[in-house]
Symmetry: C2
Subunit: 362 residues, 2 copies
Amino acid sequence: MRIGILGGGQLARMLALAGYPLGFTFRCLDPAEDPCAADLIPHIRGNWDDPEALRTFVDGVDMVTFETENIPLQALDCLESWGVPFHPGREALQVTQDRLLEKTYLRDCGFQTAPFASVSSLDEARHAAASIHYPVILKTRRFGYDGKGQKVARNSTELEAGFNALQGQDLLLEGYVSFEAEGSLIAVRDKKGHIQFYPLIHNEHRKGILYRSEPWIAAGTLERSAREAMKTLMEKMGYVGTMTLEFFSSHGRLIANELAPRVHNSGHWTIDAAVTCQFENHLRAITGLPLGSVASQAKYCMLNVIGQMPPRSEVLKIAAARLHDYHKAPAPGRKLGHITLVSDDQQEIEQGWQDMLAFYQP
Amino acid sequence: MRIGILGGGQLARMLALAGYPLGFTFRCLDPAEDPCAADLIPHIRGNWDDPEALRTFVDGVDMVTFETENIPLQALDCLESWGVPFHPGREALQVTQDRLLEKTYLRDCGFQTAPFASVSSLDEARHAAASIHYPVILKTRRFGYDGKGQKVARNSTELEAGFNALQGQDLLLEGYVSFEAEGSLIAVRDKKGHIQFYPLIHNEHRKGILYRSEPWIAAGTLERSAREAMKTLMEKMGYVGTMTLEFFSSHGRLIANELAPRVHNSGHWTIDAAVTCQFENHLRAITGLPLGSVASQAKYCMLNVIGQMPPRSEVLKIAAARLHDYHKAPAPGRKLGHITLVSDDQQEIEQGWQDMLAFYQP
């Protein structure tokens, strides 16, 4: 079975690494000249909304999936008209491409969210901010990630500046959630409707980019309610594949923030420390295979490598370190790889972390 | 760093799967039209002793390794003349391509071996057999694997038949070792001379092909003496990379049988159950990186898939099963993949084995 992946970045790369042992082959469509997945899967260069490129891409492909939610819906129109199956489905893309739809969907499925309102003028923004209370965040409804397309406003002046910076795009105004911690919940649902949940992850961001993920300690009630709402959501969506919810913990309550209809950076630890990683389970789900266990096999902590790779030999001297180099050109703010520290012994993980900071400060 | 692999079979495939996360890229040279490694690494089609094909293959490659010991030494001549580094070295290929040299080398390094003699005529064979005692095995000195190029003789008549079948080739006559068990020892040595040993493996063959590998129980003395001799051998050879010794256990003693200067089928369990697999450690060794831990993380048992793949969905229903499909065309006697059963609980492995036999009898 050949699986087409829309997108050729590190997620496509890791999908392929997980999928080759299952006997699958792959192909990706990506506008970049040399995306990092092209090291190991054939790459068609083209835009996702270019019917000709899509046509070449799907020729001989049995099904399609994607590594980013920023796939134009026109691409799905083409796939549908040609009878090429794809997972996750259209609704997952529609909802996650639009922050207003997404927040509404989350709320309707039982998640708590920050207060939010759609705004199309500065006046509307001012009224919404007054009712929600400052500080607020102005966000573009579409195509924002890693903190892009967002402006925090603590007062009316900042709101106006933010609105001017983002105007011309559909906007959403949200109440600012003061939170103790950020986390994510990764779930996978197969074609028969079975759902598995990876353990809750605690995430630390720096400059809007995920920096460090590790197990969420003492998650009991929070985790149960999150799983319940996630199940509702995935069933409502008829979702098939791996899906990620990013959330805040605020005064002990879970505030749902964003959905990713795909494998997720905060789940990269599963490659080294879960029985079945998020990538393999995504592929199992979309190809109609039974899901594998999502249990953790050890303690872990994942560090993103951003901007510049640390020396490979230094990383590999650390017994607990597992290196994942995406083979990308260095650039400020670019995710180049990740390192997972894995051990049965939390002390060894802490030590590995300290050892790493000696030669690498991201 | 781009690593060239001579050979494009499943071992090259698994080397690439282990090496991509380290940031390496690959290329293989293989005479087959579509070897299974070509799914994920660029493939140059050509013979290993064809200087033109080799020239194309090494262009832009930083170093070369191999997945088979059947690489003609002329290929190494070319690499040397062009200044392309390769590991393991020439001596490893020379010794393992010739059963007489190999047995002599093993003995000289402190291993016990079956009694053996070089024979070039039927008369010599008869004399050697009389001194070694029947049953004996006639073997071609060169290019035999998986039981090919071997004839067992229980008496003079069978010896003559065997000699006639194999004649024209350089031959070796060996005493037949009556053994309780077969096993292997996989070691890896880095450029600084550090050596790591994977735990001893118990191997079961059927029709001369490896069928099942699992941990060797109660290996104490046997393992210590094997490691000692293996260390002597690797140091004498200046070996860099993963190396495998296949042996018999006969009356509790280890009888060294064959060396493979490469990753080995009996070490495939390391992908799923060792901290660092034999493939990654081979790559770490030959690129001058520090070795990773070879400790087992769980109990395991590996089954080769021969001739025909079992249904993927049935295999993946078994919680302990990890599937490795090499994406090869089915053919009688062909290794198509392997399945590793992994669990902390030996009972779950046994149960997985039983479940598997219900739909798959290799």
